[in-house]
Symmetry: C2
Subunit: 313 residues, 2 copies
Amino acid sequence: LTDRIKGVLAPVVTPFLADLSPDRERWLAHCRWILSNGAGLAVFGTTSEANSLSVEERIDLLDSLMESGIDGARVMPGTGCPALTDSVRLTAHAVKRGCAGVLMLPPYYYKAVSDEGLFRSFAKVIERVSDARLRIYLYNIPPVAQVAITLPLIDRLVAAYPDTIAGIKDSSGDWPTTKAYLDNFASPLFDVFPGSESFLLAGLRNGGAGCISATANVNPGAITRLAETWKDGDADQQQAALDTIRGIFAKRPLIPALKAAIARYSASPSWAALRPPLVKLTRGESDSLMAELDSAGFSMPGLASSGRKAVAH
Amino acid sequence: LTDRIKGVLAPVVTPFLADLSPDRERWLAHCRWILSNGAGLAVFGTTSEANSLSVEERIDLLDSLMESGIDGARVMPGTGCPALTDSVRLTAHAVKRGCAGVLMLPPYYYKAVSDEGLFRSFAKVIERVSDARLRIYLYNIPPVAQVAITLPLIDRLVAAYPDTIAGIKDSSGDWPTTKAYLDNFASPLFDVFPGSESFLLAGLRNGGAGCISATANVNPGAITRLAETWKDGDADQQQAALDTIRGIFAKRPLIPALKAAIARYSASPSWAALRPPLVKLTRGESDSLMAELDSAGFSMPGLASSGRKAVAH
């Protein structure tokens, strides 16, 4: 169990070049910065705009990451797609590349599908990948995917594939939902990750494994510190400080706001680019975000500047 | 304008082999049967489980269809995906293959996206495909995609790309929505297709171009007849007869029910297979469907049997 991926993971944002192709070098640099701040890499999540990338683009980026010498034990790529064949291909590739696990969306095109249909989706992927190293973390994000991971579905999956179904990321944004996953399933063999550091401390106090949070792209050091010191006396204060920063990002379009912040703190305006249908913050929105972050004393220490000198704060 | 694709189109259901790969021969035979009944081919729609297929699987099937000698003027493949690069690839391929147009979902992973973001999605596809032959039919299906095609979005797209934005399929299932598209946009250069034959006659009386309907997979002859004779005295009777058959399918899980009917009428049980997350009807559900269809005097004349002799009705 010592090699299980735990703690804080960032769904790494994906920078784009002017032609909207992934900016590999800048992406690798951001992965290294996140790792240097103690967090792991949940590449190809919702925050990564992974569903705005083709299967080939994801495979190509993961190859670059693993060839850069990063430890697969710290990597959990997202691999769930609407098409069974795509999910199988991405999942098999992640296992072959030595990733610690995969974060798997349910097939999300059809709505109001049955748990039977979802069970068969996950089962088919597991059977086709057919590799004892595979560890699947289910991905519950009903505000986006609409298709939810229910408790009875987890029951069935864990019973059928106890060595493979390794946990869940809950991005419901709803503590009772996260708590129900924790109460029913958290164990040394099933890790529950809240989908935001807002529930990091509450999660850890209820058997959680850490968190997988968009904001770990910009605030990984502080979030990781709480995950490592949550039994200390200042834990509630740490949580409050995380909530302040999270709140500043979360009241704006989250992915554009994260990219805007990285663009400003790295003095690399092109970091702000997104693939449609997402659009970047306006200059005014970005200025307002930065003003709030400055007032809160926020910074991203050690973030590599690319292009001109980093803006002083 | 004479080469514009109009009338009744079927979003062709995709049959699968035992390993859930597409059953190419059976699919081509079904395409031919639909064409022989007067309807065109909106391959790779929602009913086709297209979003459960990889990009390569769709390209491969379309290549087979076009190489089989079918007239591209009768083909409108679905090409809209969450990933811009996938939509571009599928759309460019469809144009290259001589298809009359493409039916394009908006990128549907992210929810509550802006019209600005959706405009840029369609614009990027158009600019990257960069082919004067491209005709895009927008695909509004909020019950599934959640992301809707608004009237202001169409306004912007038509203004920017008047030669390319050729129409819309409305699967809202809501007549006022279809009527608003008709009232605001129907013209010789913008075809409005209701997403069900339930609105075929009402649509035609309000300037509609026909319909693109799941049930055209099983009842294409009768639906096409109404589209061709809607000014005749028996049009309302024809519409009522179509509604009866549609109603029998629509009160069940629609795609599994269509496949179950084709399986029974062609005496080819394997036609009933679906990719997860969709699941086929139980034997009891299928029997009940067939009993209702028999009572309604429904049949699928000329449907090729594959395997054993067709069941008599």
